[in-house]
């Protein structure tokens, strides 16, 4: 059963269309990755879900009912904004407690555990916090809530790798409790690690939705090869892009569905080293842009 369903959400600001016909659904106990470059419409979509703006057309449904018919639907939601702004003169602890009070939660033990795990000093005023620390306050508050839909907008941009891992762990534990998670990000590896399904948004429109494995074909793998031989022939193969070779090093991108052929071809050369770099979001989009420019 779907927890959240978006049906043809369109939002216009004057003449500018921020998102157009955005539709997707998030099922119970699922982590849903929402990816796209800056300005693609991720935040606008999220703001429509949480009711900060009302869509020009289309419908947001929670637990099968339109949110306009359930004024208190947001008690099912916990949200962590992309740019967490807190009250400069309140301490982090005061903010977390306020959020707990507002959602009727009194589990101070869990609060202390989370504060410890995220290594937050709750006695300091929010104005002294770095971006990462402000994010921790919001994350702790979200993980403390009883909401069954957690919405994270670029949640790890200010966190160090260690805290990122803590965050990932808590996302998975929330998932195991049956909660649903909307994870907006432009870090593909993070989404790949956590998300069961993803939607890709570009210029206000959803261009792909599905399981990550199904979408592998749209990604590109980045290879770094050290070899004394000339790989120009590989560079000319179908599905190989941005081929460069200088001295003993070649670098290129391969469409994910062509990796097999390219690796087979590489076998014939004498290789001193082969490095695979994780696909980056821009690599995905490059493919779309390439396709777009090729057609025109």
């Amino acid at each position: 059963m779907s927890v959240l369903e978006l049906k043809g959400i369109t939002k216009r600001f004057g003449k500018f269309t921020a998102v157009e016909e955005v539709s997707f659904e998030i099922r119970e106990g699922e982590v849903f990755g929402f990816i796209g470059p800056n300005g693609a419409g991720k935040s606008t979509t999220i703001r429509a879900i949480i009711g900060a703006i009302s869509p020009t057309s289309g419908e947001v449904r929670l637990h099968g009912k339109p949110v306009t018919a359930q004024p208190d639907y947001r008690k099912h939601i916990a949200y962590v904004p992309g740019d967490v702004q807190l009250w400069p003169n309140l301490t982090g602890g005061e903010v977390i407690r306020f959020f707990m009070e507002m959602s009727g939660n009194a589990d101070t033990e869990k609060m202390e555990t989370l504060i410890r795990e995220f290594r937050l000093d709750p006695k300091k005023k929010c104005k002294t916090y770095s971006k990462g620390n402000r994010q921790k306050v919001a994350l702790i508050s979200a993980f403390l809530s009883d909401a069954d839909l957690l919405i994270f907008d670029e949640p790890t941009t200010g966190l160090d790798p260690l805290m990122e891992r803590t965050f990932h762990r808590h996302v998975l534990s929330a998932k195991s409790e049956g909660k649903s998670i909307l994870l907006s990000s432009h870090i593909l590896s993070e989404v790949e690690k956590l998300a069961d399904r993803i939607a890709i948004i570009r210029e206000g429109k959803i261009i792909e939705t599905g399981r990550f494995s199904e979408l592998k074909h749209i990604t590109r793998v980045h290879y770094l090869v050290r070899t004394p031989e000339d790989l120009a022939a590989v560079g000319r193969m179908e599905g190989v892009h941005e081929f460069r070779q200088e001295g003993g090093e070649a670098e290129f991108l391969v469409d994910a569905d062509r990796v097999k052929d390219v690796l087979a071809a590489l076998k014939r050369y004498e290789l001193e080293g082969l490095e695979t770099l994780p696909p980056k979001l821009e690599d995905i989009f490059m493919r779309y842009y390439d396709a777009g420019s090729g057609a025109s």
Partner: protein, 520 residues
């Protein structure tokens, strides 16, 4: 530095333009209208006789010796008063360029980009000099263009020069406070207090003890004797402006960004904020409490001159006649005027509290709070509650201050009950302004400035209306046309209900609109 100056200029030029435009047009509107209203010296002498009373002196400063020429009249009625506006202009621009930029972290970014502290500070000073110089030039050119006999070049120059000096005084004071105090809100609060208390102090001392008045910068303007003796020597104290700037530079040069000389860091235990109303109160507490303290002081300083009014009326045969038998009438009438003015000042805190709601929206807090299932109605409603409470307490405390400070004066014949009734009588104005504020916020997040302009309009009409006998038609657009003037008249319950009811209707509309509108 040049680049940073250009950037700052681009950032503030519209605000500066509107301030200069407003101040200049308001000032330059006056000499021709005075000329029209009081064309002959005889007319002006009659006016002068009626104005020589503590009530007017408290508002405009002492009247110069000698003929009440057009120039003298203009400077007497406008200079001290416009100084408040010029001061406010400087405080707001200076604060936005210094501490506000620092609080927002922009100064840190700028300083990391090969612009020195000296450069940043020089840009701040230059902008202050520039805007005050432009204002002074516009005023000088405008005043010169009239060509009235009693408004000669020397007088016009001095008028422009004192505007420059007074403006720079508060520009400098604000920059200094920006180094001393820990946040832009503090800077604005403290310097605004100096600006308003300076005026209130001058009002009290001008009437009660003129020699003590000299501490207030407003009094230096009176002492310039514009358009008669032209005592330019009283420009000298305005040197303090540059002195403040120098002190500010010495502090800024060696200070950590984000730090301040006075830390105000209280180590208190963690508060438990269990509701949105508590949150809203926590956020606006400092603002509300400092305004309430200010209102009490303003009321007290006005109350303290009532005694002198009595003795003054005792000496003056004409005023005695005007006031009717016993001379009490005039004091009570004066109290009535003061109550209107105090009410208008007391309308500022509710509007500032409502402004906090917008600030919460701008900082995306409302969006965030929305996900806690706090409804928009509740968000705005809680700020409306706080605004109304702040408004009522402002009126009440100002009236209580007036009452307390005039306790020693015999024979005013006003009881504490009369003052309380007055606070209730004018409370519908608080409802109206808060309602208008809520309505504008509900319409769009950028419209709130209109309610401030309306407040300014109310102030001018009430203030100038008193001095000039301005046509009643201007008052029709203010609530004070409808509300009876306590304690001269009994409160008109029907008028109270009408004004207050309008406010409530606007409030409800605001709440409904705000519920549906997109957040910024």
């Amino acid at each position: 530095m040049r680049h940073y100056l250009r950037l700052s200029l681009k950032d503030t030029r519209f605000r500066i333009f509107w301030w200069i435009f407003g101040i200049a047009s308001l000032t330059l509107m006056m000499p021709p209208s005075f000329h029209e209203l009081y064309p002959t010296q005889a007319d002006r002498d009659v006016l002068k006789a009626t104005m020589e009373n503590p009530a007017v002196i408290a508002m405009t400063g002492p009247i110069q010796e000698g003929d009440y020429t057009l120039g003298v009249m203009f400077s007497h009625e406008m200079a001290v008063f416009m100084a408040i506006v010029v001061g406010l202009f400087n405080v707001m621009i200076a604060n936005s360029l210094s501490r506000r930029k620092e609080d927002d972290g922009l100064l840190e970014v700028v300083l990391s980009r090969n612009i020195t502290r000296g450069g940043v500070f020089a840009a701040q000073i230059l902008l202050g000099l520039l805007m005050n110089a432009i204002l002074a030039l516009v005023l000088f050119a405008g005043l010169q263009s009239f060509g009235y006999e009693s408004m000669d070049t020397a007088g016009n120059f001095l008028y422009a020069a004192h505007t420059f000096g007074f403006g720079l005084f508060f520009y400098g004071l604000t920059l200094l406070a920006a180094q001393l105090l820990p946040s832009a809100d503090w800077v604005f609060g403290i310097v605004l207090t100096v600006l308003l208390l300076g005026y209130a102090y001058r009002a009290a001392t001008d009437v009660a003890a003129p020699h003590l008045s000299v501490i207030s910068p407003y009094n230096w303007i009176s002492r310039l004797s514009l358009y008669s003796e032209n005592e330019a020597i009283w420009l000298v104290p305005f040197i303090l402006g540059p002195v403040f700037l120098l002190a500010a530079w010495l502090l800024f040069r060696n200070r950590d960004l984000g730090d301040s000389v006075i830390r105000l860091q209280m180590n208190r235990r963690s508060r438990n904020i269990g509701s949105h109303l508590r949150l809203a109160f926590t956020l606006s507490r400092t603002l509300i409490i400092s305004w309430l303290a200010g209102m009490l002081l303003i009321g007290a300083s006005y109350g303290s001159i009532l005694g002198d009014l009595e003795s003054f009326i005792g000496d003056n045969e004409m005023l005695r006649q005007m006031a009717g038998e016993g001379g009490n009438g005039l004091t009570v009438q004066f109290v009535g005027t003061l109550m209107v003015i105090v009410t208008i000042i007391g309308l500022a805190p509710p509007l500032m509290v409502m402004g906090r709601l917008l600030k919460e929206e701008r900082r995306t807090h409302l969006e965030y709070l929305g996900t806690l299932d706090i409804r928009r109605m509740k968000m705005m409603g809680d700020y409306v509650i706080l605004a109304l409470a702040a408004g009522f307490l402002s009126l009440f405390l100002a009236n209580a201050g007036m009452y307390a400070a005039s306790l020693g004066v015999e024979g005013i014949g006003l009881t504490f009950g009369d003052y309380t009734v007055s606070a209730f009588n004018y409370f519908p104005a608080v409802l109206l302004f808060t309602g208008l504020s809520a309505f504008l916020i509900g319409l769009h997040h950028r419209l709130h400035v209109l309610v401030w302009l309306y407040l300014l309009y109310n102030f001018f009409v009430s203030y100038l209306g008193q001095l000039l006998g301005l046509d009643d038609i201007y008052r029709v657009l203010t609530p004070f046309h409808y509300l009876n003037e306590t304690p001269n008249e009994a409160a008109d319950l029907l008028a109270c209900l009408a004004v207050g009811g309008t406010g409530v209707v606007l409030m409800v509309l605001g709440l409904i609109l705000f519920r549906r509108r997109d957040l910024a």
